[in-house]
Symmetry: C2
């Protein structure tokens, strides 16, 4: 909680995103030590900001992955063109073809003849065969992977390898059980890789970065900021992103307080945000009602106070804001535009 | 569901918001018949679009309410300045003062001395005393309302009346029980009004528009689009907003399909969106997995198909997009920028 002292933060329009810069830098460093250079392929969907991407690039992570064409275009515009992977399927790859033609190295995930045809007609040369490794989402069957690679190569594409996201295992809290399940999941991916070839086996995420020993590169992004959901896993990263709000009303008997950040400021799919020194009651569009901590009958917040709330899911929270303010304490050191939103 | 025929919609980048224009116009008309002119104060937070606001203005609704300063500024920029209420508390009213000085009629809700002081120092002249009528959110106690009005008038403000939002009663599904509860809630507001005075008693929402007979004006906005949550109430409005997505992957045994709209495209606080002809499994950042309808083992969607998903909560869904496409069938008739996002 930030009490109403006059400071840089105090002058900002609430609600806004605050990044604790020392913690952010620590998270970045821990991951860079574990997975240096292109052993990490940072996932742009987590932060949607070329300013953040440039910090990762400076730390040696020159290859990135994205979830949307808009993210790919923005990364290319920012000059981060060494190796951009759209880790997702598209049926219209023409906008990717444009940035490839302009000199960016573009790769797209494919899991069907239709998506291969889209890469070809869109002018994208490099593909990864996306393989289903247990998550009920995209990815071909292992038995199809070789056939798709053959089809792609026969049509002039460069098949760089395979991709398989074990997303269903990210939140398994028993880590030894999780490691066993990741091993099985990656065995599936490696079987597909045998029939596909190419140097890349791309997989993983923040929840499995240290136990997925089979991928040649790990796709992770949320580790930079963390959230109350990822915090349950006991990873070596610390939460450093909060939504700063202002108390706009305190109930007559001080049995609750209301801040001006609501469900339009938070990713709500993993539930309510959290607050230090109290309990989050409920979120409305532009309000969150805060109750006293258990065992206490009164809130200690006053009208005008700044209050930090910690989101349950970082990626969609960031996508709701236009900028992040990177701070040391109450001092704002940098402003990072969230410039890769939308589609 | 829109099957993959070539049409205007087919050319759009997915995901995007589609408004069924005939249904939208019917919703608008039904409400205008029930609450003509300023008996309705449309709530801009629901749609965050001056294009939509202008349609309401043309239908005779010249007074609006907003939830954020950004919405107020955008409405003023669009020339919709007749009577703009910020139905929310702020501690910094300076930006409101700027648009008031430029000629807009600006009113702000206040529920404490601090918020009255903010109106005064920000240069806002008109206020409503916000009264708590049962929702654990903003609003003063009934016993305080008169004192606050006196304090405001003593400091030169024009107190136009009271506001009290019975938001805790919007989703009561037994309508006769709901009517009884709204009556009690509004009795509270009217008691406060006795000690405050002024011509306005502002309250209500889409869920109580037809049973709140005590307010002089109803604040409603979601009725224009509706959602799967409001649809449970049996109101006379029909759902007309969907997120149009594209099938990017179909599982090998066709036991699920994946579309390219995920939790960054939907307000998720009321749960998953819905789909015709199937069951929504789960949403990821940029994906939603769709299962076959109960009793069937295969999905009928193919890669490339367009699929409409219906959000569980319309207001935060709209806030995630940059535009709405108003359509008749597959023909796009108008594009409505969502120009009032952020803070």
């Amino acid at each position: 909680m930030y009490c109403g002292t006059v400071s840089d933060l105090e002058q900002q329009t609430t609600p806004f995103l605050r990044v604790d810069l020392p913690r952010f830098e620590s998270n970045l460093l821990i991951m860079s030590d574990a997975l240096p250079g292109t052993a990490l392929r940072p996932h742009v969907k987590a932060f949607k900001s070329t300013a953040v991407a440039k910090r990762l690039y400076s730390a040696g992570h020159t290859a990135f992955c994205c979830a949307t064409v808009k993210e790919m275009e923005g990364m290319a515009s920012a000059g981060l063109t060494d190796d951009l992977l759209l880790a997702n399927e598209v049926l219209d790859a023409r906008r990717l073809g444009v940035i490839a033609k302009d000199g960016a190295k573009i790769t797209v995930a494919v899991d069907s003849k239709e998506t291969i045809d889209a890469a070809i007609s869109g002018g994208v040369v490099n593909v990864l065969i996306d393989v289903n490794v247990g998550l009920r989402r995209c990815g071909c069957a292992v038995s199809e992977a070789g056939n798709l690679a053959t089809y792609a190569r026969a049509n002039g594409l460069n098949v760089r390898g395979v991709m398989g996201y074990e997303g269903h295992l990210m939140m398994v809290q028993d880590r030894s059980k999780q490691a066993e399940m990741v091993k099985d999941s990656m065995a599936t991916l490696l079987r597909a890789h045998e029939s596909v070839g190419g140097p890349i086996v791309s997989a993983g995420g923040t929840g499995t970065f240290d136990i997925n020993n089979w991928a040649t590169e790990i796709q992770a992004g949320s580790y930079l900021f963390m959230d109350t959901d990822y915090a349950k896993l006991g990873l070596p990263f610390s939460e450093c992103l909060s939504v700063i709000s202002r108390v706009i009303s305190v109930a007559p008997e001080k049995n609750w307080a209301v801040v001006d950040a609501g469900l339009k400021a938070f990713g709500m799919d993993h539930g309510n945000p959290s607050v230090e020194g109290g309990i989050v009651g409920f979120c409305s569009d532009e309000h969150t009602t805060l109750y006293p901590p258990e065992g206490q009958s009164h809130v200690t917040w006053n009208v005008g106070d700044l209050v930090a709330l910690f989101p349950a899911h970082v990626d969609p929270t960031i996508a709701k804001h236009q900028k992040m303010l990177a701070c040391d304490g109450n001092r704002i050191l940098e402003e990072w535009p969230i410039d890769l939103r939308g589609w």
